[in-house]
């Protein structure tokens, strides 16, 4: 599902609510087909505006931390870096990366740790055309594997047959 709307309409907040980062004032959120005991937050990936990267750690150290923290182990790092074409930079400090490369490293986190739900907040920002195509491929693979994506975007992000949720003036 793609969530659209003007700035300030509440797209990011909606994603954060689903991610469990903001408490729900009313109503409830359930996941059909997921694990019944685990909260949605533990079954989702959140790709926000920030990259959650530490500049003094290397590219692979950054990714390794997240894969291990989320329980996927360290062997997932190499494959994930390969998928986003960041393998040659693995030993460099994350401070040296451009904005697009940092974004790709964040996306590598989604690829390295398998979780059913992807919550993406303007995922194509800072990405150049080839990287956007790559992201679209990764998203299609995720959907094909039975995953779900909820993305907030201003324009097309490469998911053709997505349902659209328009926020703002009704």
């Amino acid at each position: 599902m793609v969530v659209t709307g003007r700035n300030g309409a509440g797209k990011s907040s909606l994603l954060r609510v689903v991610a469990g980062l903001v408490r729900i004032a009313a109503g409830h959120l359930t996941l059909d087909g997921g694990e019944p005991d685990a909260p949605i937050a533990e079954q989702a990936h959140y790709l926000g505006h920030q990259d959650a990267l530490k500049p003094s750690l290397t590219v692979s150290e950054n990714l390794q931390f997240w894969t291990e923290f989320f329980g996927a182990g360290r062997h997932a790092v190499e494959a994930a870096l390969n998928t986003v074409d960041l393998s040659p930079l693995a030993g460099l400090p994350a401070a040296y990366l451009s904005a697009g490369q940092r974004r790709r490293l964040s996306i590598a986190r989604l690829v390295g740790v398998p979780r059913p739900i992807w919550l993406l907040d303007e995922p194509t920002s800072a990405l150049d055309a080839p990287s956007q195509k790559r992201l679209a491929e990764l998203m299609r693979d995720h959907l094909a594997g039975g995953g779900m994506i909820v993305a907030a975007a201003h324009g097309p992000i490469g998911l053709e047959r997505a349902r659209e949720l328009k926020l703002g003036d009704a």
Binding site: P55, P88, L89, L92, A95, Y96, S98
Partner: protein
Amino acid sequence: MAIVDLANPTRFLNVVNRVLPWLAAITLVLFAVGLYRAMNAPDDYQQGATVKIMFLHVPAAWLGMFGWGLMTVAALGTLVWRHPLADVAGKAAAPIGAAFTFICLITGSLWGRPTWGTYWVWDARLTSMLVLLLLYFAVLALYWTAEEPGRGARAAAILSLVGAVNLPIIKFSVDWWNTLHQPASVFRTGGPTIDPALLAPLLIMAIAFTLLFVTLHLAAMRNEILRRRVRAMRLMQAQELAQVT
């Protein structure tokens, strides 16, 4: 060859690479001579052999202060004359000056124990050296927290200058605040009061230590230049790969 010619880092590195082994050799020779003279110097009538800590303690004190002086000149070089290697010189001098100040404090403390009966007193001279050490730590902390070499450099230069201005003030205020430690015995208006038999080894050791400082300093500058080159190359590598994919 003028100083200006050494402004080019590559040329500087070439000069340093040629000069450094000689400097190191002369330093070693001077240390050998100095230590020999120090060992054979007469014992003090009151303190006995303990007085020989002086041969380590006093040069260390001088070089601790010399280090800050060097940093001040380097700071002027960075801020006023814009010499390209000035900030490298300042950054390289800081740890060495701090180390000598630290050695001065430790040897002084160990010397004080048998002589005065205590490891530490809050006397004017000791305290001003301690404050000097804290100033060194401040500059080192600044260098350590700056992630890019250039960013820390200007801030450290400013701190070095402020410290240089403040050091005499601190010295004066601490003197005012308290005075146990022996007053100046070498650089005095009346001439040295120290016995010539101890003065000669002291001066030899002082020169030896100064050459040690210079040797270490040049080597540290070389390391810093090389370190920055490595960093620049890695940055370029990251940027190139950003364009390819």
